[in-house]
Amino acid sequence: MVLEALVSALAYFTDLSFLLWVMAGSMVGLILGIIPGVGSLHAIILFLPFVFLLPVEHSIPFMLAAMSMSANGGSITAVLMGVPGTPINTATILDGFPMTQKGEGGRAVGAALVCSAGGGVISVILALGMVIVLLPIILAITNAEMVFIILVGLAFIATLSRGSMTKGLISATLGMLVAFIGYQPVTGLWRFTFGIPYLYDGLPIVCVTMGLFGLPIIIDLATKRGTIATAGTTTVGMADVWQGAKDVFCHWWLFLRSSVIGYVVGVIPGIGGETAIWVAYGHAKQTSKYPEKFGTGVIEGVIGPESANCGREGGAALTTMALGLPGSVVMAVILGGLLIAGLNPGPQMLRDDLPLTLSFLLVIAASNVFGTSIVLPLVSYVAKIASVPSRILVPLLITIIFVGIFIYAERVADLVVMLIFTAVGLAMVKFDFNRVPFLIAYVLGFRFEHFFFMSIGLHGPLFFTRPISLALIFLFIMAVFYGPISKVIKRWFQRGVKPQ
């Protein structure tokens, strides 16, 4: 069944318009990823309001391709200028920029780009393998299990993300409450609308997302006057770039292990890309013959994190599409795009649209290969994009955001909602509330309520006694209470051990 669906998925790639949108997404992601401060999130958020204008076979591949290539673009600035294009290129700077300073920038960039592309391909192969193995289990998931999958996912995201665990859970709770604004999925009655017709359908995902994440990042960019990337160089020799590409094949085993590390981290919701790159960097250092040289400019210090940062993409996309559980804000936006496009992420999407789902996974691999093969010979020119000053970028990005939000439904009220959530987003950052659980809970809230009452309707109030549900409840309890309980136990033991 999966193999037949895979063949049907490959058929999408024979459509020229499909390929053109993948290529366009790759280029947009690459360019936005190169600009420090503007990453994969912006690459897809800017496009989110336009999703409904295109068929789903074009809009989602565009977003996935943009997401994939933005990390590749970010590695260029990380290596050549010592500034991460995206947060998940931070570890690459440790050895990539020193290599540039030693005159080996081209080699580091070549290695980074090939690793990124290869990591993306490896992660898609692993994801496809996981689909084949887990498809019967995923298809056995019912509404009852979906309730607890969402709760477990939110608990993981709230507790594993940075910052206070309690505040993460508070953010998730608030996101759920905001999701309840509008009509209730079972009764169809309106809640918390105060008689305002605009609120009858709830708050638009694009406005909440753009407000929470889009504009605050632009505001931050606006406060950085001048060019963000000032050090380093944009000139690299092609011979060095190809040497770097060859280095990846010389270190193929490290590349494979790092890609798998990235994939495993990507599958687990809540553990961000930053964890994957640092775990991979640490692993590369520990397994190197010359660990003391890390940080001075060694090629393994580039191969490890760059393989992992794209290695996580397939796993994260699989969790989002197969379980309907986004593990990061980028994936939450992708999920939002899938919902706007009329798809139903989760087991139903695998049941009803398996070829389309598999084609989305293949897009990640294809965009990495395509984008890297285009950018490798043009690295020196492409890197200059990072020198565009923020005073040019900021008004253009703000304009695109406002136009995009208005075009979505042609309502000025959407702009107002976006501005309100911009204020909310800034306040959340100021008071150290993690915005990621809020957004993910908001995106999942309506579906959660739907699954909850469907489960009660089909299985009765004891729907949680099903075996998979019980296992998920156990995971939820562990995720939420493990930290505080282990602290209490530790303190208790420390009190019991008296100093001599």
Binding site: L177, E410, D432
Partner: protein
């Protein structure tokens, strides 16, 4: 017991949760009010616990210790409040410009004035101010039925 700034945010959360609980209670059907009541109560409880920790913590509470931000969030840059307020003011001003004058006039005005005040040469700013709306209109034209907001001023003038 010292009240820290983050404590006020937790009080605000508690008020929001109480609001949701208060609005849910009079609802007619259990299916309508059950989940808002549950999540409102959980949120209130969590905020109360965190507030208690904040108020009784010695020194800087964990919630105020600067930790790394979420992966896709803003970078940690120490800039003054005035810079942030300035950026926010530009965005609010742009919105008001759209509301009053419409996208056609607001976009070039915003782009030109922002770039010039930030040190861009006026003819470079002018090029961006002219080409950006032109490109936007090309894109909008390709979308059937899409139209940009004309602004209240034009409506008042009868257009």
């Amino acid at each position: 017991m010292k009240v820290k700034p983050s404590s006020y945010s937790l009080v605000a959360v508690m008020v929001i949760c109480l609001l949701f609980i208060g609005l849910s209670l009079p609802m007619e059907y259990l299916t309508s009010k059950l989940l808002p009541l549950i999540f409102g109560s959980v949120g209130f409880l969590l905020a109360a616990i965190e507030l208690g920790k904040d108020l009784t913590a010695k020194g800087k509470p964990a919630s105020e210790v600067p930790t790394g931000d979420e992966a896709d969030a803003m970078a940690e840059v120490k800039v003054g409040v005035s810079s942030y307020l300035g950026a926010v003011a530009w965005i609010v001003g742009f919105f008001l410009g759209i509301l009053l004058l419409g996208f056609v006039i607001a976009i070039p005005l915003f782009i030109f004035s922002y770039m010039v005040t930030r040190g861009t040469r006026w003819f470079v700013a002018l090029i961006f101010a002219v080409t950006t709306p032109a490109l936007i209109y090309l894109v909008i034209d390709a979308v059937p039925g899409a139209d940009l907001y004309q602004g209240l001023a034009f409506r008042w003038l009868g257009y």
